[in-house]
Each structure stands twice: as structure tokens, then as C-alpha cells.
Symmetry: C2
Amino acid sequence: MNKKIRMGQQSISFDSPVYIMSSASVVGPKEGEGPLKDTFDKIYDDATFGKDSWEEGESEMLKETVMLAISKAGLETDDIRYLFAGDLLGQLIATTFGVMDLNIPLFGLYGACSTMGEALALGAMTVNAGYADRVVAAVSSHFGGAEKQFRFPLEYGNQRPMSSTWTVTGSGAFVLSNEKSDVKITGITTGKVVDYGVKDSLNMGACMAPAAADLIYEHLKDFEREPDYYDKIITGDLGVVGREILCKLLIDQGINIASVHMDCGMEIYNDIEQDTHSGGSGCGCSAVTLAGKLMNELKTGELKRILFVPTGALLSTVSYNEGQSVPGIAHGVVIESCV
Amino acid sequence: MNKKIRMGQQSISFDSPVYIMSSASVVGPKEGEGPLKDTFDKIYDDATFGKDSWEEGESEMLKETVMLAISKAGLETDDIRYLFAGDLLGQLIATTFGVMDLNIPLFGLYGACSTMGEALALGAMTVNAGYADRVVAAVSSHFGGAEKQFRFPLEYGNQRPMSSTWTVTGSGAFVLSNEKSDVKITGITTGKVVDYGVKDSLNMGACMAPAAADLIYEHLKDFEREPDYYDKIITGDLGVVGREILCKLLIDQGINIASVHMDCGMEIYNDIEQDTHSGGSGCGCSAVTLAGKLMNELKTGELKRILFVPTGALLSTVSYNEGQSVPGIAHGVVIESCV
């Protein structure tokens, strides 16, 4: 029998945990030159991944990452019952064309850069409930495709303000299972759309910070925990600007996470050498940081317990050009070391 | 204890069924002049729903539909634990801005026009597993927004070939619960991305029919059922052109669904009077047909058992302009009358 408890308003605690059997990360050249380069499974020198366009390249990267995660778990694609996946492109084309040949039933997801959290949450719910023995949760993002989709053509060469972030070219995938492994998912908190009215698509950190603050606040309330219950509370891609807002918003609620907070967007590049301004962003940012660095530290027990909170900015060129704000969403996943 | 059985490769049978407490449908003017006009909860004469743009109008329509479904179930938004929702627009902006004020934890979904099936499936899995007592599954689509997003500006006045379908301006929402009601969900089959290489974005029926055929074939195999087990097997929006391909593809597999097949896209408009060519399409097409006409017939017992199979064409202008094909996906939901 599966055991789980609904916690508070937005959370689920898996008494019978869901295990992460394997993780995989594939990234582009810029990520391969950054501080986390030794933690990725594969680094491509070519940002089109051998294909004719960024979009096809992103699909190829996602497909390779999913297949790598499956093979690292010692499995075949036939062993995977469901795939929970998404990306940033309109109508999820990176995912569609990436997973097509894998022949795995697909739940397509969109949570902007929070999609890794959404995929892990739904994947874990599915395994915990006994609907599947093994599922894959995967996301991707691509700098070239994302700039074309959301902002300006790269060839236009627009200036990037210091508040802007750099979309990570990367894909992360995770095989979730009920078979015991070194790392487990023990709970989730599902986010709401939070809008503070910020309208600057070149300051995504400010757009997403309120959603991250809301998620972390609700999570700690639902589970009746203090921030230091976790070794780290890890946001996805707030960057330098967003992190400051997040910490301030939580201080206003009497919560101080400064000593345990980490932001994947601030880890993945070296701004001074790589000119990435506020940090990295994109679904791939939190996904490859979790799949590489964080999974390594969870597997050795260096990290015991983390709250993983990928953060998404919910905009499109259409809503942006029509003068709408950029609301945010965040999804929380509690991940623990079994070592 | 929740009871469910994994069936075959892609399906789940809910031994302890999930109930549809209420459904709601809100549509635009053209749908309100069609054959199903008496089955909708609300018809707007204004395709912008009182807002400044089609997109904002679609958000308003989705929000109203979700709130109507909740109130028809005698509930408040606080009673809903999770929302499973999506639309056709890039980055799901209709959903984002529509559900923002509702303050319900959101799982954003994208399955193109199959999203109603995906939302009902994940919603039912969540309720059946005991993660929530009540969830809402909802989708929307809008003719104006979809044409702008996927094809040509309406002002351009391009000719529409006879194979083209007309995106339904409509939203459907369903409250799912473990409390007994007149209609129940007893099983699901989750679809894979299926690509036959069709590249015509003005012939979506042909793009989606292979995915529908694959889903129906796998469903019948997983549950060991014959087509006449169902009063109706109902596809989302194949239209006249897609229906013919679907029936032929299944005949090739030794399955004849002609006598029980119905397509929502062929029901919602009167092509001769309304000039809609191959039929209706969009997530809203199957959603409002289920929320109105089909739910009415299930509640009276006129329909005893249906297999609901919304069908999605997975394209974007980016993938289309880069010469990619239009793959399809379909999700199946078994819905039964309790009367």
C-alpha cells in the first residue's frame, strides 16, 4: 500500500519515498566552460548539437539526456512507463520532437523554468501511488532558442541589462522508481501563479522571486519546518537580483533563509569571466545543477536534505507585447540522501 | 486504500472510480450559433469577453468556466486542492492569466488539443491516489488567438482549404472528486507522440488521426475490449478529413469503430451554414462538447460508457517554419454513467 499524507494546503509527504535511480545532464559549450563543468555527463562544443537549428538541437539534447538517464539506471526505454517532460518553447516543440522516437507515453508539462519541479512532483506522485514502477522526469532549455522565442534575434545584438539572466543550454533527466537507491524524494509542494505586477522581461529574477517566496513560505508552514531543517534551500534561476528580493520578502514574513539559500543560476556561470550578468536561467539551469552537482553531493551524503525550488517566469511575447505583467510560479521538491 | 490496476503498457483502471462532480462550458458567439448551443452554460456575443484582446478574453473565459464548475459543485475555490490546466497559446498565457486570481496550486499542462484528456487523466490519478479530495481539470482555446499564434493574422484574410478546421472559442472545466455523483472516470490511457510525417498545418485532422488510431488501438488492447464495449468512442477534433483516416488506420489493424465513433469537431458547427470546412478544433472543442452535450447524456444514462479521446497536433510556427512535420498525441479517458 502506498502511504502519503497531505500536508497543509499545498503539500504532499511521501511516507513511502520515491527514489531517484539515476540522473543525467547534457549541456552546451558555455555551460561546459563554467564552474560546474566537471559535474555534467556530456558537454557539446556545438550549440546546435549536430542539427540544423537551435530547436532541433535542443530536441536532440533532450533525447540524449533521457536516454542517458535510462541507461545509467541500467534500463531500456521499454522499462519506463511514463515520461513527464517540458521545455520553454511555444507548444513544447523541443520535447515533442525530442521524445518522439522514444515511444514512451508522455505527459507534456509547462511551468516555464519551474518545469523540472513540476515534472519531479508529478513523476513522484505517479510512482508513489503505484501507477508506475519507473518514470522519467526531464526538461530542457536552449539559449539561442529561448532568446529567439522570448526576446530578440541574437543577430540583432541587443544590449543586455545587468538584471538579465542567461538561458542555460542544457537538459536534465531523472529516472524515478520505487526501488531503493541513494537518493529519495520525500515530499512536494505545488505552487500557485503569483503576480507582483513586474513587467520587465529582462529582469526575470524580480518576476519570479515573489513566487519562490510564496512557495517556500507555504512549504515551511505545511511541513511545520524551519529553514535550517534543510542543508540547502535551492532556487532555480533567480540570479543575483532575484535572490536579494526573495530573501527580503521572506524576512518580511519572519523567515531568514540567507544561510541555507543557494540559487542554481548563481552557480552555473562565472559572471566575471563569462559575462552572464545576473546569472543563469531556463528549465535547464536547475535541472542540470540538480542532475550533476547536487545529486553527486546527495549520493555521498555531503548534502542530507534539500528543498529544491525551480522558479518559472510566466510570459510569452504575446502577453508581454500586450502590456501584461510577468507572473511567476515555483514548485518545491524535498530530496534527501539515503546514505 | 485506493485501488487501481495498471493495464497493459499505457493504461490505468480505477477500481475505485473518480467522480465528475460538475462540469461547465463557456463559449464564444460562433459556437453559440451552432448545433450544440443549448448545451453550453454560457454564450458570449463578444469574442473578447469584455477584454482588450483575444488573449485576455480567453483568460477571462477560462477563469469564468473554472469558477462556474466550482460553484455548480456547490464549492468555493478554497475547496479545490489542485488545478490541472492548459491552453494552446505559447507558454500557456491563457491559463496563467486566467487562473492567477483563483489562488489554487497549478499543474500547467500542454498536449495541444489533447490537453483536456491529459488534465482529466492527471486529475483523476491525483484524486484516486488520495492526494486530493477535489481537483479541477480545465482547458481553453480561442479562434482569434489560435489563428494569430499558429497561422495568419485574421486581418490578412487568407483562404482556408477544405481540410482546415475552425478553432473553437470555448473553455470546459470539470470538478473531480471521490464523492459519488452521476458520472465517473474509470480508466485512462496515456498517449505517445506519433508522427506520420504530415507537414500541413491546415490539415490538422491528418496530423492527429495516426495518434488517435494508436491510442484507441492500445486502449482496446490494454483493457481487452472491443469497440462496441463503448456506446461511443469520441475523438476531439479530427474533423471530416481526420475521421476518415482514423477509421481506415484502425481497419488496417482489424478494428472497426465506424458504428460507435463520434468526433466533437464534427458536432460543434454546422459546416454548411457556418462555413467551418472540416470541423471544429482546439482544446475547447472536445472540452465543451464533453462538459455540455456528453455530460448531459451521461447524467441521464442515455450514454452508459464512452471512451473520450481528445487529439492534439504538436506544432508551433517555429517548428513549422523550420520544415518540421506535425506530430500528434491523444489521451484516452473512460467515462461512465452511474445512473
